[in-house]
Symmetry: C2
Subunit: 199 residues, 2 copies
DNA sequence: GTCTATATCCAGATAGAC
DNA sequence: GTCTATCTGGATATAGAC
């Protein structure tokens, strides 16, 4: 009995995961408003009606994805900061990991694209705006701290740390968008190019 | 008689310009699908009905803006290339002009944002896709040529010219998006930071 | 040229059968 | 859990009066 309940919960979670994955692709390439609930349902292989068994609305799905995107990005940022590496190596690792992620895992790029497009748009649910406002700064702050540390020991150039952090993230998001458009034809730039802003 | 016709045409063009300017702001901040035709009409101070006197559809307005955005961007690129300056000075001028434009003229940032978002989106009119496909490469090609020239005389670093051009433009578009979100709170980074990838 | 009113359509969400 | 059928609302575009 309890076992059945757990099993049901598990398959339900899996189903939700499928829906989220398809919705991520659609939201990233078409945006929230242009993505129809039927698009998501048919991409996930179910009827519109059934989709409402798993999510209460299109906006709920969107908010869930935004939450998840920031959780991944911010967790990764904070993990990076904790690594026992000198600051400039953290920056290099961040650049290489992000470029690699964009190349290898399609969802990685889509999460960044989703954040980039959602952050730029006013036409998103209030709940999503709240999350963005609360979470958006974390990666900037982490990178700023790493850069400041590297500037103290002289291993990172002496531009304003905030400026460097800004250019770091805007460049990454720009690359994510480009990747989303050109897909596999897109050859990653050499990480050294980006590194040369820092060292 | 002919004079009246000209005058009418002129005020009509002005009215179209007002509509385009308001639509640009809305499309840039909300996207095509989330922008309602009534939003545009009321922002331009007219009824929905009247708007259809000037444009046949919301998509027509969008396509017109895309066309105009690329015309500006590509003209500016080609003008830059023709200037009697050494290659690395052209790069520096491009960066400074773009950062300045983002700072001073609100529409400049919006045009870049419109291009960035439209290029990333599948949910745009076919006519817009055609324009993008045809025009999108011009700035990349111009910058690539300038970089190659600078590499011949040794004044620009020897990374792959195409990679450098890609990072150049993706960074610029990333900054444009950031500017659109944070508006006036947004302090431009030092142009030297971006230059340090090239020299 | 400009407005209000309206026809038409389409998408989000619900109801109810299986 | 899953589907089909349907209600409802809202947005595009048109018609017609001024």
């Amino acid at each position: 009995m309890g076992r059945n309940k757990e099993l049901n919960q598990k398959t339900k979670d899996e189903r939700r995961g499928q829906i989220l994955s398809k919705a991520l692709m659609l939201f990233a390439t078409k945006g929230l408003a242009a993505t129809k609930i039927t698009d998501i349902a048919s991409a996930a292989g179910m009827s519109q009606g059934l989709l409402y068994h798993y999510y209460r609305s299109k906006e709920d799905i969107f908010v869930e994805l935004i939450r998840s995107a920031f959780e991944r990005m911010n967790t990764a940022s904070l993990e990076l900061e904790k690594l026992p590496l000198p600051p400039q190596e953290k920056i290099r690792l961040a650049i290489e990991t992000l470029l690699q992620g964009l190349n290898d895992n399609e969802d990685t790029g889509r999460y960044y694209l989703l954040i980039a497009v959602a952050t730029a748009s006013e036409a998103i649910p209030e709940a999503a705006k709240t999350i963005i406002q609360k979470e958006n700064l974390v990666p900037y702050e982490v990178i700023t701290r790493i850069i400041s540390e590297g500037q103290k020991d002289g291993s990172i150039k002496d531009y304003e740390a905030k400026d460097l952090a800004l250019v770091f993230w805007t460049s990454m998001k720009g690359l994510a968008i480009h990747k989303a458009v050109h897909g596999n034809k897109f050859k990653m730039p050499d990480a050294d190019i980006l590194m040369s802003m820092f060292i």
